[in-house]
Amino acid sequence: MSFAVPDIEPAAPVGLIAGDWIQASSMRSLVLRDRFVFATRRRLIASLPKVVTTASASYQVAYGFQAKMLPTANGIMLIGVTASDDCNVRVITSYGTTALTTGGMGCIIDQITGIPPSTWFGITVEVKSNTGSPVTIYGINMQEQILTAADLP
């Protein structure tokens, strides 16, 4: 037996009544809802407030903090950034580093993999402008990646 993690929240089962027999469709709905909750209720690692870079083309530290993933995380942290112009956001952990480039006004999502679950780890966030002028980064959002069917046992 295998089930995919639903893309959309499954509807609640209806018609459950006392008795020895439960309609297969209702039971399947319960299973899918359980899968959906478990796979999608991941942690928001951090929501970093707005920061304005300097005009410098060199990285400057913007944030330094600690975070921890759920014990059932798949070790992948997604990082999303949106900015007013071309800039870089570099996220550094002891398990990996990634640099996000917006390439202009826009956004991008990148990831760091291999982060051990249920373990506090340090995150340093650095930013720099790629335009020679200060760039407004409207925010940086970090989340655990939601699970897929492949992540589930």
């Binding site: 929501s47 925010g139 959002n141």
Partner: protein
């Protein structure tokens, strides 16, 4: 990964299909307390070199900020982790965590530390659900010995006029205003200011200004908190007279704050007895009833903090934007954004501003319609700029009015001031015209940002944005 696999290993002989599925579901639900615990992290901006901008010292009482934590479903245990260092490795303080609604609180020593470190404060409470507000406050330890002495000439309001005791001040001079984190002790009985019922009066020194112009005196100005006693005054307002008395300066423990995290968990559901669930059809219903709250209460937040560099909260001048970024990984999860914060005004330009919330896409385009609350009765908080503070005004915005982010204390507030902020709420959605794109690795169009603007200068704190 501890999630229970739905296969033949969980079935008991002769169980109907629905029974072993139900049994497995019950087992899953009973592990949510450990496997889906919540964590809210509040991250404060640093300097370009990675030093903390929020520097937090409080001598006379505990002062801090409100954070809003989406605790999940019926949470009973909380661990508050404060990631910090102290300016003086030998002086720390004490930190307090207080639930605004129920009033319970816990506290913990904050040891001095030269390098970034963290302390954990564990709390056990009755079950809490949804968004909860906690006051995180700090009170400094004071150095046992004074770090030096100044000669006090006079004082008015939040200014103490002084000159060096001997040839030098007990601190390094610099240009303009600069930050201090000290305690100054007056002994009026030893000098010639007007009498005071208190033999010894203590004030926190937040900043110092060295007057280098020819038109001095005063030679130096200590900016203190709270304002000087005026009835009767403990110091004359004379800036030119001979020094009247000496005052000792002590150093305060000062927290340099990087982040605060709150991890919550809740009791095991437990009420579903797995071995018998297939014999008790009502327990199947109970499973459904436990999955349903998990749908909403465990939904990730979109944002937890608005903060201006150097402040615990967000200074929002009129016409400017406070923003936070978010993306969603499931399309169901963007039906509604619930935004909440508290606001005070720190200037008298407009006592009833309009406050607007909106959502922008990656190109800055407006998504759906902005929501505006008009004529909001935002209370005004008066900083320390007057000789006679008005009754009921607060002083937690010290430094903001001067526009100088080098002042100490800044926006740390006592709980009575925290309660003054107007609660502002927006419900964006659920029937938005433009579908929110789902975000995944490599996506270049799915990070959105929320924007808050106002027609008056506001200070915002206790921010939270929940996805519904």
């Amino acid at each position: 990964m501890q999630w229970v696999k739905l296969d033949d290993t969980t079935v008991v002989a002769d169980q109907p299909l629905s029974a072993f599925v139900g049994k497995s579901l019950a087992a899953n639900v009973n592990t949510y307390d450990k496997q889906l615990t919540r964590l809210a992290t509040f991250v404060y901006p640093t300097t370009a070199e990675g030093d903390a901008k929020v520097k937090w010292a409080s001598a006379l009482d505990r002062r801090g900020t409100i954070i809003v934590v989406d605790v999940g479903n019926n949470a009973i245990t909380f661990v508050v982790k404060v990631f910090y260092r102290t300016t003086n490795a030998a002086i720390g303080g004490r930190i307090y965590v207080q639930d605004i609604d129920t009033g319970w609180q816990v506290d913990s020593d904050v040891p001095g530390s030269a390098s970034p470190t963290s302390i954990d404060i564990a709390v056990t409470s009755s079950g809490l659900t949804g968004r909860r507000a906690f006051l995180i406050s700090f009170q400094s330890d004071v150095s046992e010995e004074p770090v030096g002495t100044v000669e006090v000439v006079g004082g008015v309001g939040n200014q103490v006029f002084c000159e060096p005791f001997g040839s030098n001040y007990p601190f390094t001079l610099a240009t303009g205003y600069y930050e201090m984190y000290h305690l100054i002790s007056f002994d009026p009985s030893a000098g010639n200011p007007a009498p005071s019922p208190d033999a010894l009066l203590n004030y926190q020194v937040c900043a110092f200004k060295h007057n280098i112009n020819a038109d001095r005196p005063p030679h130096g100005v200590l900016v203190v908190w709270p304002e000087l006693e005026t009835t009767p005054p403990i110091l004359t307002t004379n800036t030119t007279g001979a020094p009247k008395n000496n005052a000792n300066l002590y150093e305060l423990g000062r927290l340099e704050l990087f982040s605060i995290s709150v991890e919550t968990s809740w009791p095991a559901f437990g009420s579903v007895r797995s071995p018998y669930v297939y014999q008790q059809p009502t327990s199947i219903k109970r499973i459904s009833n436990q999955i349903d709250p998990a749908m909403a209460n465990l939904q990730p937040n979109a944002g937890t903090l608005l903060s201006t560099g150097g402040y615990l909260g967000c200074v929002l001048p009129a016409g400017e934007e406070a923003t936070f970024a978010f993306f969603v990984q499931t399309n169901k999860s963007v039906q509604q954004l619930l935004v909440s914060f508290r606001a005070v005004a720190y200037t008298a330009t407009d006592a009833a501003p309009d406050i607007t919330f909106g959502v922008r896409d990656f190109q800055g385009n407006t998504v759906d319609n902005d929501i505006t609350h008009t004529n909001m009765p935002v209370p005004r908080i008066t900083g320390q700029i007057t000789v006679n503070p008005q009754p009921g005004t607060a002083m937690f915005m010290n430094g903001v009015l001067a526009g100088d982010q080098l002042w100490g204390m800044r926006d740390a507030m006592p709980i009575q001031d925290a309660a003054k902020g107007l609660s502002v709420r927006f419900a964006w959605g659920p029937n938005v015209a433009t579908e929110i794109a789902q975000g995944s690795n490599g996506t270049t169009d799915a990070v959105y940002y929320g924007t808050i603007t106002a027609t008056a200068d506001l200070y915002i704190y206790a921010f939270n944005c929940k996805v519904q």
